[in-house]
């Protein structure tokens, strides 16, 4: 139990229905993904103690923050949580430094100012400490909110839709900073988002939530290779997520090969160096299946594999086929007609054809 940095179990029938239970380990980022109104933010508020569901268990390490059966509810200010709010919720009458200082009450008075400036520097806000929130841009406010959340030396870091208010380029930069930050912090991180990009870029684990109920949860690769999540398909499209290492870079051809535990995956080489860890997402709609290895194609990836699951999507003529390629699984979205023509059944050998440019890729470290 003491080895589990965060254990959460929440249940209630209403007014906001909840039925979730999960653990989150140190250094892990659990992304809670779901449509708005699914109860994502409520889960974070319950962990922080700002909301008390009818039935709640929240434990960090050997401390119990909530245990409704035992009548335990530690008030929020006595829980070491760092919470980054959706709209940042900065204190408008305090400077950036003042905002961070407000969360440093547990530290000796003499070192607070220096610590606040150090935290602001960590989020690249050095020199802006004297500005009030209304004189900061969206991205800068977000950084102050982040610094303030870490200032408490939290046992758990909670991020509630942290990037919704910033535009795409700033978002990418902030995602990278949050990623770097959580590696340094080594605490459980829970990220609530309705943007799938956040999930793919930041999380180690995923929990798919719909109307307060867990549709799927586990390590991101395990969840994303599942063929039976029509809700996820409708929301963002299915696609396997694979963490891989760059095996080699051929600058002359502009291609890199990734080691995915079996046949190598070929991707564009831009920005890749040998040995780098990357995360790729192979959209199911971009994968073509063939019973024989075709010749004379422009694409680079013809991956021999075996069908491991065939899932008919209810209400459509589409079928999701899971194919094991080496040690990983890919998903392909094809028509029911194709499945019967090619006789795609579990155990059938098949070739997965993937254009190298259709693979989403980002460098993890």
């Amino acid at each position: 139990m003491a080895d589990t940095p965060l254990r959460v179990g929440l249940r209630q029938a209403g007014p906001i229905p909840l039925d979730v239970a999960f653990d989150c380990a140190r250094g892990d980022v659990l992304a809670i993904f779901g449509p708005s109104g699914s109860g994502k933010s409520t889960i974070l508020r319950a962990i922080a103690g700002l909301y008390a569901p009818a039935d709640a268990i929240v434990r960090t390490g050997d401390r119990t923050w909530s245990d409704t059966a035992a009548g335990v509810h530690v008030p929020p200010h006595q829980r070491a949580v760092g919470l980054v709010f959706q709209d940042y919720a900065l204190f408008p009458h305090l400077t950036a430094r003042g905002n961070v200082l407000a969360a440093l009450g547990h530290r000796p008075k003499a070192e607070r100012v220096a610590r606040a400036d150090e935290l602001l520097a960590q989020v690249h806000m050095d020199g802006l400490g004297d500005r009030r929130p209304d004189a900061l841009s969206g991205g800068e406010r977000q950084r102050v909110a982040l610094a303030r959340a870490i200032a408490r030396d939290p046992a758990v870091l909670l991020l509630d839709e942290p990037f919704t208010a910033v535009d795409r380029p700033v978002r990418r930069r902030l995602q990278d900073e949050v990623d770097a930050l959580r590696r340094r912090l080594d605490v459980p991180v829970i990220l609530v988002t309705h943007d799938f990009d956040d999930v793919v870029r930041l999380s180690t684990h995923v929990l798919l939530l719909e109307r307060g109920r867990v549709m799927a949860s586990g390590p991101i690769a395990d969840v994303m290779r599942r063929a039976d999540l029509p809700w996820l398909r409708d929301a963002v499209g299915l696609g396997a997520v694979v963490d891989a290492r760059v095996a080699g870079v051929d600058l002359e051809r502009g291609l890199a090969t990734l080691d995915i535990g079996g046949p190598a995956l070929v991707v564009p080489a831009a920005g890749l160096t040998p040995g780098a860890l990357v995360r790729v997402r192979v959209p199911a709609r971009e994968v073509i299946l063939a019973t024989q290895a075709p010749a004379g194609l422009s694409l680079h990836n013809v991956l021999a594999g075996v069908v491991t699951e065939v899932h008919y999507l209810p209400g459509t003529s589409q079928v999701i086929v899971q194919v094991r390629v080496g040690a990983t699984h890919l998903l392909a979205e094809v028509t029911g007609d194709a499945v019967s023509r090619l006789a795609l059944t579990v155990g059938a050998p098949v070739h997965a054809l993937v254009k190298s440019v259709s693979i989403d890729l980002h460098v993890v470290s």
């Binding site: 508020r45 922080a48 103690g49 700002l50 008030p75 929020p76 200010h77 006595q78 829980r79 070491a80 949580v81 760092g82 919470l83 709010f85 959706q86 709209d87 919720a89 900065l90 204190f91 408008p92 009458h93 407000a102 969360a103 009450g105 547990h106 009030r132 303030r148 959340a149 200032a151 408490r152």
Partner: protein, 221 residues
């Protein structure tokens, strides 16, 4: 010019603020941040002095704190004199009559603070008292100032309740507004005129000061 009456008026204004501000801050914060059964009734009771004729208010205060009532007798046995027709009685009446002027602006000011800001303060480890003094109060400051100035100016102008509960004792309960009425009854138009002008100047000055100070804090924050 009745300087003693001006003194009583100013003394009453300041004393009312001292009594009422803590109550107003507590009630305003409670009403702005919590919901509980009976909240609508409490809000109605606080607002009622605003719409009732001052004489009705004065009548009930006299009934409640008169020499024949248990509360009035209890007060008399402690203080040594009856509550009506004393400065203490006047202060009590003034505090009740001014409750809506203090509570409402403070409540609105606390309500204007996004709940997320208060939640964030709790997540920063600030205790409820620290949240109140470091976050809520500085942010609601213009509202608190408005409340204080409104109550002060209104106390100076209060007439009906004062006459009902306080009467017209020089140096004890005769405020400037009573003294003006007194002078008019005695056909001393000049005396009444000077005092009326004094009240007008004090009231306009107070309101101007409020606007200036509130504007400054708003711009700063």
């Amino acid at each position: 010019m009745d300087w003693t009456a001006l003194g009583v008026s100013l003394r009453l204004g300041v004393a009312t603020l001292i009594v009422l501000l803590p109550i107003g801050l507590w009630l305003g914060h409670l009403l702005a941040t919590r919901s509980f059964p009976g909240k609508a009734l409490i809000e109605a009771l606080i607002t009622v002095p605003l719409v009732l004729p001052p004489t009705v208010l004065g009548f009930y205060l006299l009934v409640t704190f008169g020499a024949r009532s248990p509360l009035g007798q209890a007060f008399a046995s402690i203080a040594g004199h009856a509550l009506p027709f004393s400065f203490a009685g006047l202060l009590l009446a003034s505090a009740i009559a001014n409750l809506p002027f203090v509570v409402q602006p403070i409540q609105r000011a606390f309500e204007a603070i996004p709940s997320g800001v208060r939640d964030a303060a709790a997540c920063c480890g600030l205790s409820p008292w620290q949240r109140f003094f470091q976050i809520d109060l500085p942010l609601a400051w213009p509202g608190v100032l408005t409340a204080a100035m409104l109550a002060f100016a209104h106390t100076l102008g209060e007439f009906g309740v004062v006459l009902m509960v306080g009467g017209n004792l020089p140096g004890e309960t005769r405020t400037l507004s009573i003294a003006i009425y007194d002078r008019m009854q005695a056909f001393d138009d000049r005396g009444a005129g000077v005092m009326a002008a004094t009240l007008l100047v004090v009231a306009v000055g107070t309101l101007m000061l409020t606007t200036t100070l509130a504007g400054r804090t708003t711009r700063r924050g």
